[in-house]
Symmetry: D2
């Protein structure tokens, strides 16, 4: 953190600022730039609120450098585990699959068997559905949860389902294994705090308008409650392009992985909104390092109650699973530690994207486009 001091503060004023920092238990050092006098804070202030500095008399501006989501940055465990399923940490990428909405018990049981038989290891299914229009199908609610539980019992697969309020967390608690926070609720901090107080893994989706920093701050909210089992999910951001529902930002995968050990998965169904793009984007996601895929699957995709345009069939899922196997093997070769090529590049690849945040923020390059 850098504090820019007011102009003409004088030595006395400067000493006063340092004294107030001292009273806060914070060590700072004066620095003189061409046009300004600053105080460079040496102490770790990532978790101190900005206003305790900005309100010091004589401070005109507080510059935070780097991110203030220490739990996300310093988390040591690179996997989230659910019985036999391991997500992240270099394990084979997993597939989370199932219908957009739980439509009925038979549908779900049959589909759960189907997706399991072609490689899925976690079952997804919406019981509470956020819908842009209040007149659309909002899910089977509690009944949907019960069906998910039964499908889980039948197949042995853990289930993930979205919750949108504290009440829904309570309702779902005994039925689901992973709480999903959808893109629409990524900024719903009260909800993030609530799931942070539970002991179940949280699948956190990036909001349509979320920068990567905001996404990680959302994860910090969950982790601050004591729940470190966060799975990050890139699912597309909103841009001007209309041929896809959203724009899948795959660069987010390596960036997230350079900033945190939390597992990162990709949802190509919502990102593209078109079933014929799902397979290609699944391949790309695995190739750039995703720890898993989240896919909407339906027995009869075009008859899916919700998101019919993006659902794929069980047969399509089988293809994607084969792709994943082939790519995983290719990745093992590409990333093998004994490849001399690999060694040469190691340093480059592990160099943190955010290692020098001050520069990334400040550079006003003369060639921003082309």
């Amino acid at each position: 953190m850098i504090l820019v001091l007011e102009k003409g503060l004088g030595q006395y004023g400067e000493r006063e600022v340092l004294a107030k920092l001292d009273a806060l238990g914070v060590i700072g050092q004066l620095g003189r730039l061409y046009t300004d006098t600053v105080v460079v804070i040496e102490s770790d202030v990532a978790t101190k609120p900005t206003h305790i500095f900005s309100q010091i008399e004589g401070v005109s501006k507080v510059l935070r450098i780097g991110q203030s989501y220490p739990k996300v940055l310093e988390h040591k465990e690179s996997t989230v585990k659910l019985e036999r399923v391991v997500i992240g940490g270099g394990a084979k990428p997993i597939i989370i699959a199932g219908p957009c909405s739980v439509e009925g018990l038979d549908q779900l049981l049959q589909l759960a068997d189907g997706v399991k038989s072609v490689g899925a290891s976690i079952l997804r299914g919406g019981a509470f559905k956020p819908r842009t229009s209040p007149y659309e199908f909002c899910g089977l609610q509690e009944a949907g949860l019960a069906y998910l539980k039964e499908a889980s019992r039948n197949t042995g697969m853990p289930v993930v389902s979205e919750v949108m309020s504290e009440k829904q967390i309570e309702a779902a608690h005994d039925y689901v294994d992973i709480f999903q926070i959808g893109a629409r609720n990524m900024y719903n901090y009260e909800l993030l705090k609530e799931v942070g107080r539970t002991n179940k893994p949280v699948l956190l989706k990036r909001a349509l308008s979320a920068t990567i920093d905001e996404f990680l701050y959302a994860a910090e909210y969950v982790m601050l409650g004591g729940n470190n089992q966060v799975i990050l999910c890139e699912r597309g951001i909103r841009t001007f392009e209309t041929k896809t529902r959203n724009t899948l930002d795959l660069s987010a995968v390596p960036i997230l992985k350079s900033l945190t050990k939390l597992p990162v998965i990709v949802d190509p169904s919502h990102a593209t909104g078109k079933r014929n793009l799902v397979r290609s984007m699944s391949r790309a996601a695995i190739a750039c390092g995703a720890d898993g895929l989240m896919l909407e699957v339906h027995q009869n995709p075009s008859k899916s109650i919700s998101d019919a345009e993006q659902a794929i069939s069980v047969e399509d899922l089988a293809l994607i699973n084969s792709d994943l196997e082939a790519l995983y093997q290719a990745l093992q070769i590409m990333d093998a530690p004994n490849t001399s090529a690999k060694n040469a590049g190691e340093a480059k690849i592990t160099e943190s994207v955010e290692g020098q945040p001050i520069e990334g923020q400040l550079v006003l390059s003369g060639s921003a486009i082309s």
Copy 2:
């Protein structure tokens, strides 16, 4: 709504589709396009879920034309009233002003007097603050609500404050006069339903990534609960431009007003994030028809605990209030019904932006840029 039928369905299949529609109480008529056979639905299906049509055997695609937020579109009352304060309906635009966060009782009482003395008619102030970082100041919570109540009593001004969960709605219920739903929670449908069940006006902010349709669907969620006192607030959308915190989308003002009678206000503080832009953008907002302004004001703007860069002083607010007076008078002249010019243009101006949605959606113009 138009149903596109599967190819090769045949007369028998087509009749089956019509019969099923009939069973749903919906009247449709076959139409033959160059490449497809469609069923044009004549009944009002705005509030019927899409899947009951898409799941009919023989239907390959359901096209909704126009918006399905009938309560927003058909709402008759153009004002929201709080005792002596009238928002919308051609009344003089109002000013909602106050600190980003309630910081203390004295601060608030003094500021409330200040903003009232220079023209504000509603007091704003955050008691529960959504913050990107969990380590920043999150508001004085219940204490902040009590201070708002006292400031309201002292000045006679109604107060608006943000709520982010059901619990906060309960906590705030007896202290605030208007519930604010912030940009981060515009997609939080459970919260929208909750405030929809209260009897207090709701100030609904547009999300950073929200299209105008999504914004109005959010209003529909509130109104569906029985609460028609919704005030829409444009506060900037997220774009690539970084010189402002967000990009204020003022075109949204006339578009919203062409679609609904709900009052529309503008928040130039959050939209620009820079105090030296607030006055200009306030002028623009009033000039294009906003029913009010929402402004962050602070005794000592640069020392504001939150959003210090965008807060303006009470003196600035006085200037903006003078501007508003001058512009309101100019608007009276510009919109006077007895101006011959006005009459000539009437038809053009009242022609709905969305009158012919099918065309807006379909046109693939050859000159999309320049």
Copy 3:
């Protein structure tokens, strides 16, 4: 400019860097930050290429602070004049009006008379039309230019028309009074250099994807050729919203005006793409300080060969001109120097948006949304 030095460079290495700077005639001073050693450059290096610094041995990163478009920033003259027409400098905002495309001589002569009679002072009309599809009408080319010249002679109005290549600059030179560089060609630096070598005013439109900095760098390209008569035109940027053709970024008006004295006009026709939004957005543009409006007008708007959806009628233009008169009077009152309110706010309003760029760039605020 700040040079970040490589880690572990040592005193000898540091002295070497300073010596090389000295050889370039540049004065720098060492500064020690918490984690890095930097050289703060005190000399003016706005027009020196970045690579002469980045290539110095021992320099790991070059941070440019502030903008490097000195001609734009330091330009003294706030008006562009064409005989009796004055654009900028606090003069009454002007109206540039005419058809999207010149369609024929009679059409143009009649329309030129029409727009002049209701307040336009400059005639616009496309002779060379950039079209997304090569199959659309591309303008009457040279014939169109001749018609513009005749319309100019008839009415006494100067004319502006778009050029897209060096050949078109030559072809248009004797026919038009202002060269327009369209949004599609704002990054076409060879073209910018060409019009920079002419002695005619240049109306420069912001590209769909251009940041304000890129927009001003484009103006710098023109001015570097010796042509200071640049008129900046905000005409909408590309965002996710689809109810308008583009998103009119009116905040750009006060920001541009805080950075340069060049006149700034607004084109609400292309920004919105909808004729029923043009009047409202014209009002907003004038209210926030635009020096003029550029409007597409047609005798029979819906039959306009190009951009029919956004063209307005001469009657609409008359209304907008009346609005402009009323708003200009209101602005005179609002900005009157003898208003005490005005004086109080002066400092705030003239405070440069970009006065402290380092801070704007660096702050990582904890409340980026709400």
Copy 4:
């Protein structure tokens, strides 16, 4: 194309419209929708300008359905060939590599050898450099072209270099094998027409703000001049995310491939702007079907005159080439025609993204986000 008729036109008016269409040699058929009467055009009008329809008396609106870039859509040849180098058509993806700017002869010759030795088959290098700031290094111009030619002679690799004006096309004609049209000039239709008149392949980059349709219209401009050797290059679009220079839109790869047979390559250097993301994104690009990569490589990446932050070393390129080999083999397996899985999915994957454009345009789904 669908013509929407004016309301209340009557049978006589309708017949008049049909008669005028007939005179244009166009066959149309009346259709009655719920609210409108339309004429469905059965003839192929992709290359007819819209205004000849919109100007017919009685037509209120012209709706183009589907794309009007027939040369792009109907192009039969899926490869572009340069002596021994084959781009597209299922051939092994190629690597285009070299410095951002040609900095000198020795640098280039050494680098050309380097990139060739690790798998590059085409040399890139900027002689004319578009730069946001006119004060930055703009390339060695003609000297740079001569160096490229010599590097080509030495290594046998064809070279690609950017041209930004007709003069530069002439200057470069005898020196380069592929003309590059940069992102900044994708909308520069005069330039597109010029390269369309040459007989050299054109590497066309997507503009920062270009929709996929606009990108393909730009290709149509080139092809209309008779030059079918167009290579499309996705290189990132401009979004709100700032951790990358642009947002790489990899979904564009399968979408473009579903619309045209033209080869599609990806430039991860410009898309990400960060060298430590280039390898991951190269992997993703190949995995989702790109026909090649375009990469900025430098002997000493951080000392590159331009775009130093995104240049990779020759060693990095070697790694990417190994990755490409491994992925290409994996893709052979994944796409093998004798895989039963593959057969099952065939229909799904070949189903055109744009097969039913009317639906894609019209659907107003109730669940746009989640």
